[in-house]
């Protein structure tokens, strides 16, 4: 039963990944290219300045391990598909747990939509308000370890905060009604996330001259892709499971 939900989630994830890929290819890649052009410009300016000072900085041109075409094509496709399929699987597992345990969303369709909203907010949106997506040339190679650790910490804190808030909702709803329970949960989650945002260190490694519009559009493309992925997961998984449940079996 769980295995079939898992497979359904992963298949829905593949579809969500395809949509995501088309979106990112169209709106994300142009920004990546502009960011790389900026980086190249910066490197050339640096090299020229060094040359003018009489220093020979002509380092050996590093051979490209993977071509730009490959990165922007098959590489992007593979990355997005694997990511989305995996999230589809995790989504299905979360659904398998929450189904029948969440009184606020009794139908598969409603539960699926609710979980997608929660997942988008807790796993992507809130962590990325603190540590937003960055295009190439933003970010020091030396700090990759700490940046990754902080980003994952923020995601973990956000998920834990969301679980705590949802549990609190149960508790408050019992005596104060579902509306107040929801308000309490949303309020608690927001307070926890503001605290986490204040306590965790900030990172700003955007180079001085980096074009603001490119940064904005890059981050917008990143948000858009996640919105598409979570929306597709929520709607498609919900529709398929609803249909199966109408036939009499959750997994049909």
């Amino acid at each position: 039963m769980v295995s079939r939900l898992l497979v359904r989630g992963m298949l829905v994830g593949v579809v969500a990944g395809l949509l995501c890929f088309v979106f990112l290819k169209t709106f994300g890649e142009p920004q990546v290219d502009r960011a790389i052009a900026f980086e190249t410009q910066l490197d050339e300016a640096k090299a020229a300045a060094h040359k003018a000072m009489g220093m020979d900085m002509s380092k050996e041109e590093q051979p490209e391990l993977v071509s730009r075409e490959m990165q922007a094509g098959l590489g992007l496709f593979t990355g997005v598909l694997v990511y989305s399929t995996a999230f589809g699987g995790l989504f299905a597992l979360a659904f398998a747990f929450a189904y029948g345990r969440a009184p606020e969303a009794a139908t598969p369709r409603a539960l699926s939509a609710l979980l997608a909203v929660i997942g988008f907010v807790a796993i992507y949106l809130i962590p990325n308000l603190k540590y937003p997506a960055n295009p190439p040339s933003v970010g020091e190679p030396d700090t990759i370890g700490i940046r990754t650790a902080l980003y994952l910490t923020m995601i973990a804190v956000s998920i834990a905060g969301m679980i705590a808030s949802v549990s609190l909702k149960r508790f408050v709803s019992g005596s104060w009604g579902a509306w107040n329970g929801t308000l309490a949960a949303v309020g608690t989650y927001l307070v926890l996330m503001v605290l986490a945002g204040l306590l965790l260190p900030s990172i700003n490694e955007v180079p001085d001259q980096f074009p603001a519009v490119v940064l904005w559009n890059f981050r917008l493309a990143s948000v858009g892709a996640q919105l598409i992925m979570w929306a597709a997961l929520g709607v498609l998984f919900g529709a398929l499971t609803q249909r199966a449940s109408a036939r009499g079996a959750l997994v049909g």
Partner: protein, 69 residues
């Protein structure tokens, strides 16, 4: 939708935890491993040496929001 179907939808039965846990562990680990390879391998930490995985999924890693070099 038949009346029976409506009733079933209105009162869903939860999947017992003992059925769920093995799949959650197996599937969960597999999914997280896949996300790790897209998001962090040969960046913050490396299972395989070299930079091929990093460079291959480079654009996706940036656009999906992971820190990258």
């Amino acid at each position: 939708m038949t009346h029976a179907a409506l009733e079933r939808v209105a009162a869903p039965t939860a999947i017992p935890l003992k059925d769920l846990v093995p799949w959650a562990i197996f599937g969960g680990l597999l999914m997280l491993l896949a996300i790790y390879f897209v998001g962090a391998e040969q960046g913050a930490t490396s299972i395989f040496s070299g930079m091929y995985v990093h460079e291959f999924v480079h654009d996706g890693r940036h656009l999906l929001g992971f820190p990258c070099h």
